[in-house]
Homo-oligomer: 294 residues x 4
């Protein structure tokens, strides 16, 4: 069992700390909210006066804070973690923050001789309570193995994201995709309603196609991800179908800003000469727009 | 077995007609491409000179054409189907066309005393060859049952879409969702690449979340679809995370037009006072934008 | 003075026809709305029963209709203009329709040996009444000169748009720019209000900059239009300022979909290596996206 | 003549400082770039070692820096301005930064008993050299009058933006509008090229309409700004014309992301029941989307 400093006892942090206690770890907890600190103290944690105090004598220091500026302040500010942190301790930032800020924090810590990794979590506060969070571990192989027993007290699945900063990166990609997809799904569902079509029937159909299953594991693997752009479904036809959908939506007064933006991406793909390529070639089109292809 | 007129012997129509022949139906086929007609004739179909000729004495007339203007011409034009169609025959349009055009065609046919239904298909030309298409049947219950034996010669799954015009509607929704999702997926994958993150690891994470599984069967059923907007994940936080993703993408030169459009939808949801509602409330927001809520 | 057939007596067409009468032209008018026809008849026009009737013996036939399908029907349909049109007459379509449809109409007319030009109008119905419309004349030099005296009865400014189909094209460009600009202007004005800034002061500032005067005659002529992309104001900085504006707007809950879309265009310009070019290089960026540069 | 501390001698700051010297002011200048400091020293300025040093004994301290974090560091950091600033001095921030950051800086200064105003500039570095900048003065009436003689050494037009923080706000609005308009203008110009239309003729037409002159002083003042939404040009028609333009652009492979986004704004206006209102009602639509109307 380890001595752990824990900073940030919010909706996620508090149950995560509880689970660490329950597993027998020794905790020193800090939060600006004294009620949250007292609640953990009642469970056996030691209340810390400052982040520095929480970090004293700790093997691990966990931060779970709302944004990167706070993480920076808690690390480097007055009475911050660095004032008392042992050189052989490991700081684990579990907050969801800006990935390029994570990089700078890790490198600023390294400059001072400290070791830090990023392990943001997936799932919800219910899972935090149940100790069944998804742990997205960024760090060296050694850091991940060292932290694993501590982390597994809070979650039931740990994904090694492939290196320092990669935990927060994979969290970002996942959130981006799911949050934007939510808005796109709403456009489709509202168009469905405006067309007088049963949503259940639409779901039944989409459950068997990329519309419901996504492209990553259906249309992409045997085409664009293998470099095969021969058309199973041509960009020209996809562009035509998008045009019909937008025309219908505009006649029925259903605003579809994501759909409208997507048509312009297909439009651009056609301008780039990809009209007769497979629709999965959109990936190559976006790569080219980002300056990533050769 | 039935006498069937079949108009439109393209990449999809030709194998569909072949499968009808193979099941023992008697076919009269028409296409402007004489080679396509001859190929079917060699398989036992009767070559028709005109759509009207193909429709003579037929119980069913199937159309599989590139767009709605052609369907209209083939029905109502000179030497069109209506010139010879029996009043008790059933026209089955299997083309993918504009749904509001489908409605007008069905109603124009009804005015002349003719019966017509829409049964666009899902899947690819490989499935057309194998006779394993997905059949999206729009029509009255009676029409669907009458057409079923004929349709099942071409596919292996028939979904009753719920009424006249609903087949083409569900096709449209499915295509809209999958085509736009393809572009959104490309943004996420390219951001992943620009961040130096392994796509396989991103896939591994997303395969367990709405990012990979979609929202229709994960985040929506127990929240917005039940009218529960209490936050499992707040719109304010989703908006914040989108902002981080767009900021990173703009620093790394990854254009994300769909992501940028989606942030403005969340922005609008917050302006409407939904910031502390669950992220699935985006569905209600888009419904309100479309004038569909009360 | 000329004998003129005039088809389409709506909000614009009726006063235009009145002005032709007032100038001494002899008119045969047709509309499906009999009241509109009678109103013109009361001013001295001859009421026609059909478009063909209106075109009989006319030197000019003017069409002013809501969309291109109607123009086509009035030309080529039953009792249409072509049934009675003299080979040396000139058809002038003044409707605002789809330019590619205009091209087909002109070419279909030419195939039948008829001469047709496009002269959509600018300004409002008030100007139609006053005879001060802007006339955007598409046609050969000869057609424009022949039609000029007739046209100038309806407007006070004629722009020779440079050839057949160019009248409707310049109308389209002007309308596109002004209609989209209206939405962009609203975003700026609403952000102004949300910031608590006086709109009058914002106007005062913008009246002296491209924000108020546009780019066509200010920032572009000496830079991108001359091929000079050395930076007066760098794309990187413009991109940064857009990012600030969007961040402020998102904090204040002002949805800015056009602004968000525009940032992704600058983003793409930076990905294409244009970050240190002048902001007017966005024109070259959009040309490249459209496949127009070499 | 005044004693002035000047921090930030970049492409804009250096010539601004030169002009102050030329008018007889006494300058203490600081920049991290020693070459820039030496260049000003050669013109008669006193070189300061730190921001604090530059502010010693100054009546005015001017900051002209690349971003708000630097302004904050220069004010409140170690050896920052506040260490030596006289309580009756006036700090003038002429940088272009985030307006909400400006607000915090002004209020943080006020808390310490210091007086600060925002005066970002318009126009280019050529105008900085010529002393003909546009000065956008945010501050109390008293601050503006006090700073005016100093400011007019650097520019030839001063606009009183209406209060503290309003200078930076009006700069933001102006930049937003001009930068996004640049991208929209490019879409129109490229569509023009793709249509084979002379850009000069398009310019000639647009120079007389809101497309070229903007809406602020043409279509808005007598309609939406007066509360008159009776249609001179209906939203339904504007929406239709946008649809034609986008359809043409998509046929010709001209990507128009801003145009596509704008159609969805009109679409939303129609969903909100504004289809038969004047097109300037888009302003009210966007206000409503931002939660600003009642």
């Amino acid at each position: 069992m380890s001595v752990i400093g824990f900073i940030g006892l919010g909706q996620m942090g508090a149950p995560m700390a509880s689970n660490l206690l329950r597993q027998g770890h020794q905790l020193r907890v800090f939060d600006i909210n004294q009620d949250a600190v007292q609640a953990l103290a009642a469970q056996g944690a030691q209340a810390a006066m400052t982040p520095a105090h929480a970090a004293e004598g700790a093997e691990f220091v966990i931060t779970m804070l709302p944004n990167g500026d706070l993480v920076r302040a808690v690390l480097f500010g007055e009475h911050g973690i660095c004032e008392s942190l042992a050189k052989d301790a490991l700081v684990i930032d579990m907050s969801t923050i800006h990935p390029l800020q994570t990089d700078r924090l890790i490198s600023d810590m390294a400059e001072r001789g400290f070791s830090m990794m990023d392990v943001p979590v997936g799932r919800t506060s219910d899972h935090a309570v149940a100790g069944t969070l998804l742990l997205l571990a960024g760090g060296t192989a050694q850091q991940v193995e060292r932290a694993r027993p501590v982390l597994m007290a809070m979650g039931n699945e740990l994904i090694n994201a492939g290196g320092p900063g990669m935990g927060i990166r994979v969290k970002l990609i996942n959130n981006y995709m799911s949050i934007a997809l939510n808005a796109l799904s709403a456009e489709a569902a509202v168009l469905c309603e405006a067309l007088g079509l049963s949503f259940d029937i639409a779901l039944q159909v989409m459950s068997g196609t990329p519309a419901g299953k996504g492209h990553f594991t259906t249309s992409w693997p045997n085409k664009v991800l293998k470099g095969d752009l021969s058309p199973a479904f041509m960009i020209d036809l996809a562009h035509k179908d998008l045009g019909i959908a937008l025309d219908v939506a505009n006649q029925l007064h259903v605003p579809m800003p994501l759909g409208a933006a997507s048509r312009e991406v297909y439009n651009q793909a056609r301008a780039a000469g990809r009209g007769r390529q497979d629709w999965t070639a959109i990936l190559e089109q976006v790569r080219a727009s980002a300056g990533l292809s050769h």
